[in-house]
Symmetry: C2
Subunit: 261 residues, 2 copies
């Protein structure tokens, strides 16, 4: 059997993006992660702030933004422009050869506009296809891809896309070529039994425990789509998934939650 190379896919959430000191520390830690790696970043609050600044009224349903034309312009500006390019510039300063992408670049991530029976999410994309061969070429040329949460439909339309989903779809597609570890980094040390108590980290979640936690309603509702994504990714070939604070990237003994089938 062929020996696959390792690849770490690391997703950071909005709370890190919104805190420049935390972001800078994260990017330093990320730049020290050895081997092949990809960064996926969320958007944070700046798109909402910019939308309000220019007189738009951003709408959310179930934690997902409703993206009309004006709001799409804003998220493209902020995610693919301001946030992505500042992250890339900081990683370059840390001697990490980062290259920032939306899914439109190199047709790396192609989506279709969501067609929901009851809710019109607007210009929101569901991932269809990852261009793994081009990503492989970039990674073998020692490029570190940095993805924002924008994709396209290959017909000229950009689409707002959930960053957790982008991370898991990249992980699934690239697990044909690499042994993929997927890391979800956020402000907490892991998935918590008690959302108010940072010391209540659940070290390992498998499907049995996950069902139990959902039944007991012992899991925060925002965590459910994230964990659903995780189990889906593991069942499709991703080797390992961790959820926790970004210090787990540097300290192997750092507490975090590992997701297992």
């Amino acid at each position: 059997m062929e020996n696959k190379k390792n690849l770490s896919i690391i997703k950071i959430g909005g709370n890190i993006i919104d805190n420049p000191t935390e972001l800078s520390q994260f990017l330093y830690d990320f730049s020290k992660v050895e081997g092949n790696k990809i960064l996926v970043h969320g958007g944070g609050k700046s798109a909402t702030k910019m939308a309000q600044n220019i007189g738009l009224n951003p709408q959310m349903i179930d934690g997902r933004r409703i993206t009309d034309t004006a709001m799409l312009d804003v998220v493209v500006m902020i995610y693919a422009g301001e946030i992505n390019k500042n992250i890339v510039a900081q990683l370059q300063a840390n001697n990490s050869n980062a290259m920032g992408f939306s899914g439109a670049d190199g047709n790396l991530i192609q989506s279709t506009k969501r067609n929901h029976p009851t809710i019109d999410y607007g210009f929101v994309g569901d991932v269809q296809k990852v261009n793994t061969s081009l990503l492989e070429t970039l990674i073998f040329n020692e490029i570190t891809p940095v993805f924002c949460a924008i994709t396209h439909d290959k017909k000229g339309q950009l689409l707002n896309t959930n960053a957790d989903t982008i991370a898991s779809e990249l992980a699934i597609a690239l697990s044909d070529i690499f042994e993929v570890t997927l890391n979800y980094c956020f402000e907490k040390p892991g998935v918590l039994y008690n959302a108010e108590d940072d010391s209540s980290v659940i070290f390992t979640i498998n499907q049995e425990l996950y069902s139990k936690l959902k039944t007991e309603k012992a899991i925060h509702s925002g965590m459910i789509p994230k964990l659903d994504n995780c189990f889906n990714s593991l069942s499709k070939g991703v080797q390992k998934i961790r959820i926790g604070h970004h210090k787990m990237l540097q300290d192997a003994k750092s507490i975090c939650t590992t997701i297992e089938l």
Copy 2:
């Protein structure tokens, strides 16, 4: 002597960016240009509009924007975000495998912050170095790079950079590897004797004629830095430079101005 491959570098100005129909026609024509190619785009009026929308007061000196921190955020958003990603998505729809870049991405264009004796231009970059080996790898993988006018200093700072200069610096650096044709596309059919008369195109400008035109003040002041850039590029190895309407890309008989040493 080794046979170099051809490369077309095509720069489009703000007036094409500001006109969606014209831009769409240009991008179709660009996608049909055969062989290796790079697109460099200016910014148009949308950065100024956005700055005004959020209460900033953009300042210009000699046609160059004064870029303070707030204005840098705006140009990064608009140039690297909105404009660059929409161009890439449209080119992908035209089956051109475009990938959008700032100079920070892959450290493709490194600059230094301008240090002017009397004017503080703010976060404005002068190009120092082009990463030709990575660009060569991308081009040999059939990627069409699309550059916005943002670079970085490799120390974490993004810098606003003149798009004409980016096009000429790319052309000079890549002329070691490729036979480079540099095309400046704008709304006029070429350099005009009489700015009011589109039929007064000067078909060829060499250095002798250029000196004469400047002495006679027969050349529009906005054209002078562009032509200075052209002569500099030709003296440093760029094979051919043309200035004209983008229809020259598709129609070899189309009128335009050719610059010669």
